[in-house]
């Protein structure tokens, strides 16, 4: 019986946390390590995204997909791409900039990627 009570008392003594003066500093250090981990993770994910984007872009361009899409759009008579090219070329771009259907599609892909990134950031923050 006495032994049991000693064990209870011992558990209570162990449960008493020592008063350490640098408790806030310790919390700060853990927070810094957490931040470092997030930064590394973001860099890795970002790096992988960029690498994937470059590889994907090269594949798309190398495969002539954009040229085929541009041709299809033109052939279909929609003229949408052509009109966009005309508007941008005449109003926004310097005369020397080689603007064509491929560049427009590529820009559209980049804009979509940026929007997707922005949406994921907003979702994570809120």
């Amino acid at each position: 019986m006495a032994e049991r009570h000693f064990e209870v008392e011992l558990g209570r003594m162990f449960a008493e946390a020592p008063a350490l003066q640098d408790a806030d500093l310790f919390a700060l250090r853990v927070d810094e390590r957490l931040s470092r981990g997030w930064t590394v993770r973001r860099l890795v994910i970002g790096g992988m995204g960029v690498a994937g984007g470059v590889i994907g872009g090269a594949q798309v361009l190398g495969g002539g997909l954009i040229a085929r899409l541009g041709g299809a759009a033109t052939d279909a008579g929609g003229q949408l791409t052509g009109k966009i090219v005309d508007v941008v070329e005449n109003n926004l771009m310097p005369q020397s900039f080689p603007l064509n259907a491929e560049v427009v599609w590529l820009a559209a892909v980049v804009v979509a990627a940026v929007l997707a990134f922005a949406v994921t950031r907003v979702v994570r923050e809120f």
């Binding site: 009570h5 209570r12 020592p18 853990v30 981990g37």
Partner: protein
């Protein structure tokens, strides 16, 4: 912002855990402030020097952050992190002791400083110094981190009987140091609670 800080300070641990699980780093910071000293204290009592205790306590909180969704609220958050930290320390101790861990666990001799006199009762931290490292480890795992004898044996990779022996010898030594010539009668134990 200050208002949310005040809210966090008065929030229950479980609320802070729930906020942390949804990505609330500030809430986790509050948990660290609340329980950091207890975790560091346990590691020191297990035998870690202050620098190592701080490193392992940081590792334990980082692990807790990553595994926060595993915390079911069956015990307290503090006891959960203490268990993580205790296991980290045991793993470290076994790695550093390498082949000697088995031999150390098999050793029976501690540093028996004898029985303290009635008028020089000492605190737990001092009393723990009279135990061998392995006794200290076993007692701290069971009474500080809340592991069962079987869980402590598993963590130490030692036979259950060996761990029980170390705990018993450690308790005997601690009783002689902490409560010389006294019985812990119920009324007395309550008076301490």
């Amino acid at each position: 912002m200050a208002e949310s800080g005040t809210g966090r300070a008065s929030a229950h641990d479980l609320e802070l855990v729930a906020l942390t699980a949804t990505g609330g780093r500030d809430a986790f910071g509050e948990l660290i402030r609340r329980h950091g000293s207890a975790v560091r204290g346990l590691l020191r009592r297990m035998g870690a020097d202050p620098a190592l205790a701080d490193d392992l306590a940081q590792d334990a909180f980082l692990a807790a952050f990553q595994q926060i969704s595993d915390f079911r609220g069956e015990g307290t958050f503090q006891s959960w992190v203490k268990r993580i930290a205790a296991r980290l320390y045991v793993r470290r101790w076994r790695r550093e002791a390498k082949g000697q861990a088995v031999a150390l666990l098999a050793m029976e001799e501690g540093v028996d400083a004898g029985e303290a006199q009635n008028d020089d009762r000492i605190d737990l931290d001092e009393a723990l110094k009279s135990l061998s490292h392995v006794e200290r480890l076993c007692v701290s795992l069971c009474y500080g981190a809340g592991l069962s004898h079987a869980e402590a044996a598993e963590a130490l990779n030692a036979p259950l009987g060996t761990v029980k022996s170390h705990v018993k010898r450690g308790l005997d030594r601690l009783r002689r140091r902490l409560a010389p010539g006294r019985d812990f009668a119920p009324a007395e134990a309550e008076a301490h609670g």
